[in-house]
Symmetry: C2
Subunit: 223 residues, 2 copies
Amino acid sequence: MAELKLLGVSLSPFSRRVEWALKIKGVEYEFVEEELQNKSPLLLESNPIHKKIPVLIHNGKPICESMIIVEYIDETFEGPFILPKDPYDRAIARFWAKFFDEKCMPVMGKALFGSGEESDKAKEELGELIKILENELKDKKFFVGDKFGFADMAGNLMAYWMAIVEEASGNVFVTSEKFPIFCAWRDEYANCSPIKEHFPPREALLAHFNARFQAAAAASASK
Amino acid sequence: MAELKLLGVSLSPFSRRVEWALKIKGVEYEFVEEELQNKSPLLLESNPIHKKIPVLIHNGKPICESMIIVEYIDETFEGPFILPKDPYDRAIARFWAKFFDEKCMPVMGKALFGSGEESDKAKEELGELIKILENELKDKKFFVGDKFGFADMAGNLMAYWMAIVEEASGNVFVTSEKFPIFCAWRDEYANCSPIKEHFPPREALLAHFNARFQAAAAASASK
């Protein structure tokens, strides 16, 4: 059997994308929990450029960058397809995956962890981005072909993590009154197999973000 | 025959990636030159989210984002493969394409068009990034499998545009003494068919960047 090792952090949405892809394919793997404050020599040597998780090591060869790993898994192992078969649908899936990673992710970071004016601006911008997603999801269960796939996977931070971060930070970006379609997508997501069996535990994530916001508040108070 | 229309800007490296992919596949297409100060209704309607070139319209369906379009072309048309066949090699090609777009591109922009301190910091950072590329290209003609492909295509700004921008701006980032391997890659690139027949004309690019730097200098002097 192929040796498959995933270097990751179990609460990270980036790691989870890869885990979900492996679960969808039904592939066995060894998960190696990394400490981001004290990265393992194996991680540093497997991803010398970015030094980031996740890294999938397949028969000794490392693959980096979560969505690139997901494509690798999709192309390498049998089982249900993660990217659709049709080239146009694939382009659409990649478009939204890129939108999540390059547009939504940095704005969410600034909205939540930025200071004052930067955070206010980012919150407004985040609302605009969710409006775009709301519009795209009109009449659709998932981003492409009504089947959970590549783009949805890339959107996991917004589909699952965000609500928990909202709770921890006291910032509410999304309500079902304001974004009913986006919320319906989130509900479909939460009920989708085999993803739903492999979310990180809600309580553990909440505790993690509570600690993070408390630390940020303490740092800001002591300035 | 399929109707294939490319909305682009002929001096843009992003447009060129798509043109090169179409040339490699030997596919006929209509090129529609866009004015970025006065975007066509077709562009705005085809890429309503980003409102950016290039957009490939294939049988009425728009595809956006240059490297996503290149993958679409690779998956849709017969002819030489742009991404390698092997999944691991594909992952490596995607890794370097992402590195160019997400790491090199923004740093180059800041190095060239940023002001004072920001620009100085970015110039230093750009040197570090070229060092990474120099190291990766050791003993290789191109990024994957010694054949011009996806990652090289994504690196076109650094392979062709950058030297011209250096000349126009008076900033020299790359010398063959400092980065001999990177320069050897650039030479291979310049001699590679069918790419070399489809670079934008050097003189036109130089005039474009000269005008841009003169305008920036005038704006800065009148502050």
